[in-house]
């Protein structure tokens, strides 16, 4: 991840260290994936273009291949500086929203524009004082929010009129979501991710971090100092924290664990113990529970609200006031009921359960004997810990069959 303003003004050198000039602009294709096609270099006030394929490296300066080749003209190309930077962003109905303060570039899998910076930090970066202001803000425990806009939110056809139109209504355009930011970051390398996460406050960083793929998370934990890792581990979902911690070597893991709060330590420790038993290792923590007095209408509402990110919903578990598992039913049974029926009237009471210590063979036996797609895993207090499904044991089963 690189910002346009950080790129502009850099010296351009050929690989054999000949100064070519100063980078002034880039050109990109105005399309769904806005590939960068050329860079524009200023040599003694004479502008010339270099095709992007010739680009070798960007650090303190820009390095270009020895014989860059001739740039091919392309009529769909736009200048980032003239057509995008500082332009007005309007929403679908023409309300002014904000201006383009900076442009986000990415180089993986190929050089392209990935989004637009619409925030205050973009303004500061343009003025060259982002770092300074951030440091000052840190002293007062303030953070400057980063507001980015994904390229996917922009109507590319509208770029030519000198305004940038969004695909949505102004109100729906909140700051970029953490998941999207994580997606952005995954496009780039871990070094960039590290520098970027540093600019965020811990809360926001944790949210973004949580959405990264596991190998990024592990890599980051290996590079962060244990204190920073502990801060993040403290805030993210304990299941995820366990996954990451287990991937680290023992010494590193213990260092991070010691820095966590006692409560968190216990929680994570427990989850790690689960992972030592065959059931604990395989079970998933994705399950949905309701209380026994809830009516069908309320349950439907809860399902709609809370299970949007579920991979699938095979069963709805019913808890009593002490959070003990007392019943189960499947979504089909739910649909058959009238909307004011409470759950305890139609649930199947006393569901079949397994414990963490139950041998995996017994789990498989129960799954097939009762023809269930999943079994709740409970502790001795009948509190639910997770669910083990046919999917979870199928690799084992496959091994047995073969």
């Amino acid at each position: 991840m690189l910002f346009f303003s950080e790129l502009i003004g850099k010296q351009v050198y050929s690989e054999d260290q000949h100064a070519l000039g100063i980078l002034r602009d880039i050109r990109f294709i105005n399309a769904e994936t806005p590939r960068v096609t050329k860079i524009v270099v200023d040599r003694n006030s004479h502008l010339f273009e270099i095709p992007i394929d010739a680009l070798r490296q960007i650090n303190s300066h820009v390095a270009i291949k020895k014989s860059p080749g001739m740039p091919r003209p392309n009529k769909n190309e736009l200048s980032a500086r003239k057509r995008l930077l500082d332009k007005q962003i309007i929403d679908l109905v023409g309300n002014k929203v904000v201006r383009v303060n900076d442009i986000i570039l990415q180089d993986i899998p190929f050089p392209s524009l990935s989004g637009i910076d619409i925030g205050f930090s973009g303004i500061l970066r343009r003025l060259g004082v982002e770092r300074t202001v951030q440091n000052i803000a840190h002293m007062f425990h303030l953070t400057i929010p980063i507001q980015l806009l994904s390229w996917g939110d922009v109507l590319t056809l509208e770029l030519k009129d000198g305004q940038i139109q969004l695909k949505q209504h102004e109100e729906r355009l909140s700051k970029i979501r953490e998941e999207d930011l994580a997606d952005y970051l995954e496009m780039t390398n871990t070094k960039n991710v590290r520098t970027f996460l540093k600019t965020l406050d811990t809360h926001k960083a944790a949210q973004v971090f949580e959405n990264l793929a596991l190998h990024y998370q592990v890599d980051l934990f290996q590079h962060f100092d244990p204190k920073r890792s502990a801060e993040l581990a403290q805030r993210i979902d304990p299941d995820e924290a366990v996954d990451i911690l287990l991937a680290l070597d023992r010494q590193h893991r213990d260092k991070i664990m010691r820095l966590l709060s006692t409560k968190k330590q216990q929680e994570i420790h427990q989850l790690m113990t689960f992972s030592r038993t065959p059931v604990g290792k395989r079970m998933t923590s994705e399950f949905f529970t309701i209380e026994s007095h809830m009516t069908v209408a309320e349950i439907m509402k809860a399902v709609k609200r809370d299970t949007t990110d579920f991979s699938w919903l095979q069963a709805i578990y019913v808890l009593n006031v002490d959070d003990q598992l007392v019943g189960v039913f499947n979504p089909h049974e739910l649909l058959l009921q009238s909307s004011d029926t409470p759950a305890y009237k139609f649930m199947i009471p006393e569901p079949i359960v397994v414990l963490l210590t139950t041998p995996i063979e017994v789990v498989m036996y129960k799954l097939f004997k009762y023809r269930l797609s999943g079994l709740p895993v409970v502790n001795r207090d009948k509190k639910m810990l997770g669910v083990i499904t046919v999917d979870d044991v199928s690799p084992l089963l496959l091994k047995k069959v073969l």
């Binding site: 500082d86 962003i89 002014k96 904000v98 343009r126 003025l127």
Partner: protein
Amino acid sequence: MRDFLRKYQRRLLLFLAVFGPATITAMADNDASGVATYSIAGAQLGYPILFVLLLITVLLGITQEMGIRLALVTRKGLGDLIRENYGMKVSLFIFTCLFIANMGTIIVDLAAVKVTSQMLNFPAVPTMIIVMLITFFFVIKGNYKLNQNIMLVSCLFYLAYIFSAFKAQPNWSLAITNLGIPHGVKFTSGYFRNYILIGLGVLGTTVTPWGQFFISSFAFDKKIEVERLKYSQFETYWGAFLTDFFSFFMIVATAATLYIHHISLVSGEQAALAIKPFAGNLAGTLFALGILNAGFMGIITVSLSTAYAFSEFFGLSGSLDTTFTKSRTFYLIFILQLIGAAVIVLLPNVSLFGLVIATQALNAMMLPFIFYYLLKLTNDTTVMGTKINNAFQRNFGMISVIIISIASLLALAFAFIH
């Protein structure tokens, strides 16, 4: 004959449809700090300063015309165009200068409201607060049309100055001939120095940086079509004439009384009191009412121009026709600026006279920058298409930039020597 009338009736209607932005901008140039400056100019320099007024009128007309043409052709305000064509640093620099200068102007206007209400035996602080509340209410709750009409009605109050001038029984032939060539006084070096200093003040209060932003934003907010450009252009010239028509009477009123009797003024508000012995109580009271009204007009237009400029520079929604929630930043800037100014006015130890001079100097010194970008934009075919400046506008504009720059530097030098 009937056809002839009908033709002109149609034209008049078309003119009235675009009427507003240019007249209001021009008239608001005669805000309270404007009245103060004209009064001081008349009292200290007499009729010869009228010569400068004529030149300034031409300059005002031409620059306002550029502003409105720019807005109608590009459908953008001056702030929009500067940000899009010259980037972040220039935008921030200009906005910061504009903000400081406008703050000064608003403080002066509010102070004038305070001082003149004292003269008129109104309770000063409550009057000030009431004026501010009325302003908040109209700007936030009202739409473009209401605000425009309030300001147009407000313009009628300027007739008070004509009355005051006649009551002062001036030497009309001397006044009018001085428009062509300055004469009738002893041109000493001290007079000449004051002439430059105060002349620049008159320029700085008539042709203002905020006026350049305001006219383009206000015309844009009125949603005038580019086809109506001719009528809007005519209105800018009319507005420039009208505003300085009234300025003429302000200067005449003080020149005929205070200059003749060698009574020097240190603040504009004093003029209302000072002319009483010579022009009568009614003239003085009218003069004071005029200043009160000018202050009201000034605080609305100048605060609005900051809010417009900010919205344009940073691309936020900013229009009188939108709700508070939608253009929140726009309205907040308007309100906060007024409240900030009010706090400063209520501080007991602020020298308002010094503030008037400092504000106008800053305004005048900003002008070359603003004109530079205004000229660059209006000379640029990629921005203006076929509607670029003609040779006269280009040259007159350029020469004005140079003359104003030199005058600013001179004034600055004089101020230090003084």
